[in-house]
């Protein structure tokens, strides 16, 4: 996670000129994180593989016109997120309208679950069952929130790069991140709150 990628070690001129060896280095460098982000966002290994392949096919075609205004990593994330959204839209013909960002009550005091579960032991917090719960909870987020959360909190991108990869403003990225984090905190508080009750009753 949080690989520190710097563009300088890849030769942009060679990439733009269609140098295959240099492109292979680019693929080697970024394929792991592109696959991971697609898997976290879509929750399905086959879809993640499709996104991975399409991302690099599109990148290969578009590189001659790459202007370098964003980093290569951010540019690739952007292609991958667009591909992922296309897969979501294809597979969900009944796609619900994008959820209104301010139409829920997660940011209100009344909706707050106030169990302090931080004291649970690590093996409880990160059991395989808990991990599955974490994945499911993230996948339940509306896609507009999930994309920001996966890039910012799972991949560790800055707000600026997250916004750039999604083609949204930094303000929108921050608002969505807050909603996503609060929603997940709520889900986890209910889940771990139950573990806490079990532990105390033992």
């Amino acid at each position: 996670m949080n690989e520190q990628i710097n563009n300088e070690s890849l030769n942009l001129e060679a990439l733009r000129a269609g140098n295959r060896a240099e492109f292979a280095r680019l693929v080697e460098r970024f394929s792991n994180q592109i696959y991971r982000v697609a898997l976290k966002f879509l929750g399905n290994p086959q879809d993640a593989e499709d996104v991975l392949q399409e991302t690099f096919i599109k990148a290969m075609r578009a590189l001659p016109n790459f202007e370098g205004r964003s980093s290569l990593a951010t540019w690739l994330y952007r292609i991958a997120m667009n591909e992922s959204l296309m897969i979501l839209r294809k597979s969900r013909w009944d796609l619900a309208p994008v959820e209104e960002l301010d139409a829920d009550d997660d940011a209100g005091l009344s909706g707050m679950v106030l169990t302090d579960w931080c004291c649970l032991p690590e093996e409880e917090l990160l059991s395989s069952e808990a991990r599955r719960f974490l994945d499911r909870a993230a996948l339940k987020l509306p896609e507009t929130l999930r994309s920001v959360f996966v890039l910012r909190d799972v991949e560790g991108l800055s707000i600026r790069d997250t916004a750039e990869a999604l083609g949204i403003s930094e303000t929108a990225a921050k608002t969505r991140l807050l909603r996503a984090r609060l929603k997940l905190r709520k889900e986890l508080s209910v889940y771990y709150g139950e573990r806490l009750t079990e532990e105390r009753s033992e």
């Binding site: 693929v27 290994p45 593989e49 799972v154 560790g156 905190r185």
Partner: protein, 83 residues
């Protein structure tokens, strides 16, 4: 009433606060509130923990070797496949 307003303000700025990006004046004010408000302490602690759990690097999502190989073949780069 005033404290309640602080709780609401804290929740609205909690992401920036946790990321250390909050304006310093506001930060001091909220930390004072935090030191007196148990509910907000719980929200901050559990939110921090939530983010930490999702960042956990032992969660092993790495590219499976066969997926990597298929990618190189698809891109006609198989001559660059290193084992």
């Amino acid at each position: 009433m005033n404290e309640e307003r602080h709780c609401q303000q804290l929740i609205e700025t909690i992401s920036d606060y946790i990321d250390g990006e909050l304006d310093s004046g506001l930060c001091v004010e909220l930390e004072r509130h935090l030191s007196e408000c148990n509910n907000c302490q719980v929200v901050v602690n559990t939110l921090r923990k939530t983010i930490e759990l999702y960042k956990d690097p032992s969660d092993g999502d790495v590219l499976p070797d066969e997926v990597r190989q298929r990618l190189f073949y698809r891109l006609h780069l198989e001559d660059f496949l290193k084992s």
